[in-house]
């Protein structure tokens, strides 16, 4: 039902915690350059699903195909190596180091001095300055420790970080929770710009309006199953609310 070439295919993903089934068979597809909004009530299993894709959790069973190949990330670094970037709702910043160190966390640039790898601070700072400037984010000094920055500034750093690193698929878990109106608008634009480069985007949100503004497709998860998978233009906020609360399953249309 989508015009996008498939990027990530989830096939019957299940996750059990002991006797509790957090995910009971999730199947859907994310296309290249497609923005998918993942909706669902608290505890529906959205975050669990994101962690499974991002390498933070392993599924109990099920298959994933990423970019045409079988895929299972056992750690975040494996997911990253495959080209999957994640922005978590509790921000993944180390507040005890500066903006540059956070931007390049785990990917620091080095140069050789006397045969040893030394952090190339100047080069990294230049890259960060450029990335933040082009996104219109203003931070007084890139050498400020993140603990001195506001919630909005922190979230902006995370967003700019994923825009910069890109990869093939981006997962955003409630990325705008701490942002103001203007920053949110810019964040949504960023997401569109990223998708237009052919990168797949999954965005988890509670705010219906955001989902309709940015997403090509809306996938609703309810009690660990896909309760709806529809193109944004073919549905309405009311219909989606019904899928989330479970009043109508039929209205969701055929899955997949």
């Amino acid at each position: 039902m989508t015009s996008f070439a498939p990027l990530l295919v989830l096939d019957d993903i299940r996750k059990n915690y002991g006797a509790i089934e957090a995910l009971k068979s999730i199947s859907f597809t994310i296309g290249k350059g497609e923005v998918v909004a993942l909706l669902g009530d608290n505890g529906a299993g959205k975050s669990t699903l994101v962690k499974i894709i991002a390498g933070g959790l392993e599924p109990t069973s099920g298959r994933m195909t990423f970019d045409g190949r079988d895929f299972l990330a056992r750690s975040p670094s494996e997911a990253k190596a495959a080209g999957i970037e994640t922005v978590y709702q509790d921000l993944s910043l180390a507040t005890n180091v500066d903006v540059v160190a956070n931007f390049f966390m785990g990917r620091e640039l080095t140069r050789k001095v006397l045969g040893m790898s030394v952090l190339d601070e100047k080069a990294m700072e230049a890259v960060v300055a450029k990335a933040l400037a082009s996104a219109g984010t203003k931070i007084p000094s890139l050498r400020t420790k993140v603990e001195h920055l506001s919630g909005g500034q922190r979230q902006a750093i995370e967003l700019n970080r994923f825009v910069h690193w890109g990869g093939k698929l981006v997962l955003l878990d409630e990325p705008f929770a701490a942002l103001g109106v203007e920053q949110t608008r810019r964040g949504l634009e960023m997401i569109r710009a990223v998708a237009n480069q052919g990168i797949g985007v999954v965005i988890i949100t509670h705010i219906m309006q955001q989902a309709f503004q940015v997403a090509d497709r809306i996938v609703v998860i309810r009690q660990g199953v896909v309760a709806g998978d529809v193109a944004t233009k073919d549905t309405s906020p009311d219909a989606v609310v019904n899928m989330i609360t479970g009043e109508t399953l039929a209205a969701a249309g055929a899955a997949g």
């Binding site: 991002a54 933070g56 750690s75 975040p76 670094s77 990253k80 190596a81 994640t86 978590y88 921000l91 993944s92 910043l93 180390a94 507040t95 005890n96 180091v97 160190a101 966390m105 785990g106 990917r107 620091e108 080095t110 040893m116 790898s117 030394v118 952090l119 400020t144 603990e147 001195h148």
Partner: protein, 331 residues
């Protein structure tokens, strides 16, 4: 506040322990008779070499957000191992190598192997089995000291081989080579922490281990490495201690752990992890040593040192809290 004042204030806060050291040296030089002379200052640096080296390893682990109580016992065991092999009196076996100088690398390798092995043991239990670092290293603190006692049978090894002793005797610019080794260690590890990816990752892990993991940093490997390093560095401290005392006794280095803690905390390393730098730790070590020297010169009973050290640690933690609130106002 204009940016220059802010920068000046930040600079002072970042280097507060150095200013404290200068202040203390100044006060002692003025008020303590015979304090102000090169020999005394050389002595301060010399006396702080063993403690200084040990503090480096402890600081690395604390910056990574963990704890290593075993460094003192590891130093003692390494010293004892070197003493048993290379001392010619007491329980020493008096092993002779030809040429003589071969004893230097061999004794170092023995010490470092002992230290790294215990560090690796601690690290694996803490990181892989997710045991509490405090408990694991407390256990090591006890059992490693037990091994020292068992190995020595309570007796001591004396008369270390002269080729190894040479490092404690030979002087360069008025300081014995052992002191230079400590200074070199501080320079090397300060550079590693400030300029290498390993150092950067260690600091990030101390600040937010989860974020580091999500960013693809190999958290487990880096943490285990930090424990191995702490063990190896403690062993180097033990090697220096053996040289300094020309042998090893069963209770060698007793109490060093708490001084190392004091130096690390005074040096501005936060026990919460992620905060602190090694140059500050060296200043902390020198500060303790400067105070000890003053106490000796004034003829105060040595027991008062402990009281003063304790108060100093309290003052350091208090200062840390104060610094934090000033920084928050600056931001």
């Amino acid at each position: 506040m204009n940016p220059n004042t802010r920068r000046a204030l930040e600079f002072i806060l970042d280097n507060l322990v150095w200013f404290m050291l200068l202040f203390v040296l100044l006060v002692f030089s003025i008020f303590v008779p015979n304090y102000f002379q090169p020999g005394i200052f050389a002595n301060i640096i010399e006396a702080s070499s063993v403690l200084g080296v040990m503090s480096i390893g402890l600081a690395l682990v604390i910056i990574a957000g963990h704890m290593d109580l075993s460094v003192e016992s590891v130093a003692a065991l390494s010293a004892m191992a070197v003493g048993i092999v290379f001392c010619s009196a007491g329980i020493g076996m008096g092993v002779q190598l030809t040429p003589d100088w071969l004893g230097v690398p061999v004794s170092l390798i023995i010490a470092l192997a002992v230290g790294s092995a215990i560090g690796a043991f601690n690290g694996l239990l803490i990181v892989k089995l997710k045991m509490n670092a405090f408990i694991v290293t407390l256990a090591s603190y006890i059992w490693v000291r037990g091994v020292v006692l068992a190995l020595s049978g309570g007796r001591s090894a004396q008369d270390l081989a002269p080729a190894i002793r040479w490092f404690g005797v030979q002087r360069l610019l008025g300081l014995p080579l052992t002191a230079w080794i400590a200074i070199l260690c501080f320079v090397v590890f300060s550079l590693i922490m400030a300029k290498s990816r390993f150092g950067r990752h260690l600091i990030i892990i101390g600040g937010n281990q989860n974020a580091a993991f999500r960013a693809g940093i190999k958290v487990d490997r880096i943490l285990i490495t930090s424990f191995v390093l702490a063990g190896a560095i403690a062993a180097l401290a033990g090697w220096l201690l053996a040289i300094r005392t020309s042998g090893a006794t069963a209770n060698l280095g007793m109490g060093l752990l708490f001084n190392a803690f004091a130096a690390v905390v005074i040096g501005g390393v936060s026990l919460k992890g992620g905060v602190g730098a090694l140059p500050g730790v060296y200043a902390g070590v020198l500060l303790l040593s400067a105070i000890n020297t003053a106490i000796n010169l004034m003829g105060l009973p040595a027991t008062s040192t402990q009281v003063i050290h304790g108060l100093l640690v309290l003052a350091a933690v208090l200062l840390d809290t104060l610094k934090l609130s000033i920084r928050q106002k600056l931001a």
